[in-house]
Amino acid sequence: MISTLIAKYNYWIYITLMMVGMYAMIAKNNLVKKIIGMNVFQTAIILFFVSIGAKQDATIPVLEHSHGPEAHTVRALDYINPLPHVLMLTAIVVAVATLGVALALAVKVFNRYHTLEEDEILTQIREE
């Protein structure tokens, strides 16, 4: 039990982070806190992808040059998998774009209702 917990700690951390973000999105009353929760949620998935590319005793995926004949064989085990990391570069861009759109919408909501607390906004909508 303990060994499975420790051996796969990256998965446990990403699941915990994801649920923290989801809780914030569902339960928090303040819109900015919801948006922060959304960002934590997306960051958890970035952590998951980055951790699946990692290998033990491996280095960054840049070929090590040397002049001997053994330099021409590339051992995949010596390098971490760069593909999930490259994917996450794109996912970070998407996350930033989403965050920007969400914050812009929060500004629009604030300009209209002069508050960011969701219950106060809903009472204002009901009174209209």
Partner: protein
């Protein structure tokens, strides 16, 4: 034939061009949007005939062979959906003309740029053969959708914000599922995954991947009744 790439690139560049020229002259926005959507309609009809006469079309982005590069793949159903999406968006464009020029007179540039960008995202979702590329295009279509919805009056920004939160959960779950499939198969190309999966059907990770991906897509689709109220409220705001 370069049609599959141009199909997505033309509206994408069109949106950029509209957002730039829209600041200088508002009158060019509508014709530019009509031209870029017209080109993608023409290309999708061309592709439909190509698929009907010669069979499925494979397109390698940048000449990279499929397991490494992103491939676009158009079979008979894809070609039909392409024609439907581009035709509906092209026909719908003149219908928005009066409403947009009346209500968003100072924001015609952003409106048409977002409209064309959304069509680019939707067309990309249909043609792409890469699981991660699908996620990116899904987010392009979704983000432009959020922005378009927020252009409405009254509660529109609040409804749009709720939709952003919901849509982000859905897209993120889809991405998570792609991650699990990548762990098991080591590939992101849909046909590569399809050829590798039959031997792996017993794997728990594949079950997890499918469950997570389907949850994500269902949230995006507004499959359950917990989510369906929100888009309705927003579209009512957008189209009175």
């Amino acid at each position: 034939m370069q049609a599959p790439a141009l199909l997505v690139t033309v509206p994408l560049l069109g949106a950029l061009l509209i957002s730039i020229t829209g600041r200088l002259n508002r009158k060019v926005c509508f014709p530019l949007a009509a031209v870029s959507l017209g080109v993608s309609l023409y290309l999708s009809i061309l592709l439909l005939f190509a698929v009907l006469t010669e069979g499925e079309v494979f397109y390698k982005m940048g000449g990279w062979p499929p397991p490494w590069g992103i491939s676009y793949h158009i079979d008979h159903l894809n070609a039909l959906v392409l024609v439907v999406v581009s035709l509906v968006s092209f026909v719908n464009l003149p219908a928005t003309y009066r409403y947009v020029h009346r209500d968003f007179a100072d924001r015609t540039g952003p409106f048409y740029a977002l409209y064309v960008l959304m069509v680019a995202g939707l067309l990309g979702i249909v043609v792409t053969g890469d699981a991660f590329n699908l996620y990116v295009l899904l987010e392009i279509a979704a983000l432009t959708g959020y922005a378009l919805i927020a252009m409405g009056e009254a509660e529109a920004p609040l409804a749009s914000l709720n939709y952003v939160l919901m849509g982000t959960i859905g897209a993120s779950f889809y991405l998570l599922g792609v991650g699990y499939l990548y762990i098991v198969t080591g590939s992101l190309n849909m046909w590569d995954i399809a050829s590798l999966l039959p031997n792996l059907y017993q794997s728990k990770a594949v079950f997890a991947a499918f469950a997570i991906m389907m949850i994500g897509i269902w949230i995006k689709m507004a499959f359950s009744h917990y989510t369906h109220g929100c888009p309705e409220r927003m579209f009512m705001r957008l189209h009175p």
